[in-house]
Structures are given as C-alpha cells and as structure tokens.
Amino acid sequence: MSIFNVNYLCREILRDHAFRAAMKADPAKALAGKDLTDEERDAMVTGDVGKLFRMGANAFLMNYLARFEVCGLDMMKYNERMRAEKVDEQGRPAA
C-alpha cells in the first residue's frame, strides 16, 4: 500500500521545507530514496496527478503539488489535469 507514501510525501511538501525545496529543485532526485513503486514515482515526477488519483491518492493532499508548484505543476495545469478525470456520483474515480 505505498499509495500511503504518495499521500504522505504530498503532505511533507507542506510540512518539511527542506523537502519542499528539494522537490522544487529536482523531484526525481528528491524522490529517489523514497519507498514508492516505479509507477508511483514516475507519476509524481511527471506531475501526472490524474493517474495518481486513479491509483487512490488523496486529491486534497495532491493539491499541495500545485500550491507549491513542484513536479512541473501549477494551479492551472493541476486544475486541467484533474478536471480531465472521470468520476462517479460521489467524486471517486469512475470504474
């Protein structure tokens, strides 16, 4: 269940200012030693928040990627990528 680590690392961008700076400078390097699957790591580094959402990541926490402009994201890019996702009535990823 390393999607927990995706969620955790998103919040660490808020909490840990050194990690925030490292993620802004070079996300691949900042995430190199972290306990993530290759798929999760690749999606984070490329700012593929839609894919992370489908994998079960928490949208509220991923919003920190946009707020602090890491992984090539800003508010507009984040908004466009997330809004492209299909959801069910309760806002979960559509089956």
Binding site: R11, L14, A59, M62, N79, R83, E89, G91, R92
Partner: protein, 275 residues
C-alpha cells in the same frame, strides 16, 4: 452549572484572510464575519467549543479517529500556512475538555484524546475573524468529515447532545458558545473543481437545501437527507456539514437568527442566539 449561550456555523476558507486583507473591511467576507463577531461578543462567552474536521494536519491517514477532542492548556494555530494568517497560541480548558471526554465516553462516544497538538486553517480562520485577540479559550472536537467512512449525521447530532449534557453538568458558571466549522458543498483539489480554480461547488442545490432546512428547523429531514452518499456527492469535503449538525445537537433544534449563504463558496454563516 456551565451554560450554553449560542451556536455559530462558520466557514473556514483558507484564502479568506488574504482576501480581506486585500479588499478591506467593506468586502462581503469581512461583513459576514463581522456580523458574527458582533453576535459572539454580545453573548459574552467564556469558552468556545468548536466542532471541526481536520484536513489531515492534526491527524493523518496513519492514525485517523472518527471523533477526537483536544485536552490541553493551549494549542498552536495554524499548522498549514494559510496566507496572511499570523501564528497564534490559543488557550484551552483541559479540565472541561477532560470532563466532556469522560461524559461522552460514558454515553458511548469514544472520543480520542489529543494533547500537544496544533490545528489547521479550519479552526484558525474562523477564530482569526471572530476572536482575533484570542481572548476566549477554545476546546476543539474533531469529526472525521473527509475520508470515508463518515460517521452518520444522527450520530454526530447525538455527540453534540452528549457534549451539551457534559457542559450543563460542569460545576462552574461559564458561558459556552458552540461552533461548527465547514462547508455544505465543496470540492478541493479534486476533479469537480471549477475551471481555473482550486475548488468548486458540485451541488449548489444541496447547499441551498441545507440552508433552507436549517432556517426551517427541519433537523430530522436534514439528518435523513445528509447521507454519506449525498455529502460526497456535494464534494470531497461535503462531510464538513457534520460539524454544523453536531453543533445543532449541542444547542438543540432551535430557530436561527440567520443563516447567511455564500453560494459561490457552497457555505454559509449561521447564528443561533437565545440569551
């Protein structure tokens, strides 16, 4: 015995302090919070008990209670860097908080205890506007309103009733105001955001319905309709309605002085006064 003197329903949008700093005292947000600030001052509370949903800051997915209460002499706020909000230390009332916890546990509500804690914008932003000098101590009660499964609306109402019984059996003469913090329809950071924004209001009809039911004292109907399915249909933080419902449980099903909507944000500002 300590005495309940008023209920307040408050929004907590983290960017609002920045907007008010930018737009000044005549903007809509400043006026709506300003009216509530006057109502709060008029009821002269000695203590505020606030029902709130933490946004995975005080707690996280590694340890996420459905219900919890802060039991400490003070707490720090905020811990999530909302713009233009200073760092506060908010006083609290650990002996009353401990009494509320004991009373609630006896009544079947297993409140987790939190000590040495900080809180996020969801408590700090309303206090920033309503008690900016932080002269009134605050006891936070946390309800898990974002991460499924949500507790039921009726259980949150009954928790509010248990909290009221605890306050009313507390040997003191303190005047206690109850607050519920949160939105009725809001998606933050999820696919149902509005274009170009960080949030959206997926179900404005539900927001209007909640406000109408509160105005008409139709709390039973509200609890029937406020299912987890409906609350998540209204957005990924739609479960924050539970904080208002717990507040209603504490003060009883009274008629509000007003519930002022801010439909573009999917929330409202509510005041219930009777003394």
């Amino acid at each position: 015995m300590a005495q309940l003197v008023a209920g307040f329903g408050v929004p907590h949008t983290p960017i609002f302090p920045h907007f008010v700093k930018r737009d000044g005292p005549d903007c809509e947000i400043a006026k709506l919070f300003g009216a509530q600030k006057n109502d709060l001052a008029a009821v002269r509370p000695d203590i505020i008990v606030m029902f709130d949903t933490d946004h995975l800051n005080t707690f996280f997915l590694d340890n996420l209670p459905i219900f919890a209460i802060g039991v400490d002499g003070s707490f720090k706020a905020p811990n999530d860097e909302p713009r233009d909000v200073p760092s506060y230390v908010v006083r609290s009332v650990p002996d009353l908080a401990s009494h509320i916890r004991s009373t609630a546990v006896e009544a079947g509500f297993d409140l987790a205890m939190v000590q040495q804690f900080s809180v996020d914008h969801s408590i700090t932003v309303p206090l920033h506007f309503l008690t900016p000098d932080m002269h009134i101590p605050v006891i936070p009660i946390f309800i898990s309103g974002h991460v499924p499964p949500l507790p039921s609306a009726r259980r949150c109402y009954a928790l509010g009733q248990a909290v009221a019984r605890a306050i009313e059996t507390w040997p003191g003469s303190q005047r206690v105001a109850i607050m519920g913090s949160g939105s009725f329809s809001l998606e933050v950071g999820g696919p149902r955001m509005a274009p170009g924004r960080t949030d959206g209001v997926p179900d404005p009809d539900w927001c209007a319905r909640v406000i109408r039911l509160l105005e008409q004292q139709q709390i039973d109907t509200l609890m029937d309709e406020a299912t987890p399915r409906q609350m998540f249909k209204a957005g990924n933080v739609g479960g924050e309605l539970l904080n208002w419902i717990a507040m209603m449980g504490a003060i009883g099903n009274r008629k509000p002085n007003y519930v002022a909507p801010q439909m573009q944000n999917g929330h409202a500002y509510g005041v219930w006064r009777w003394s």
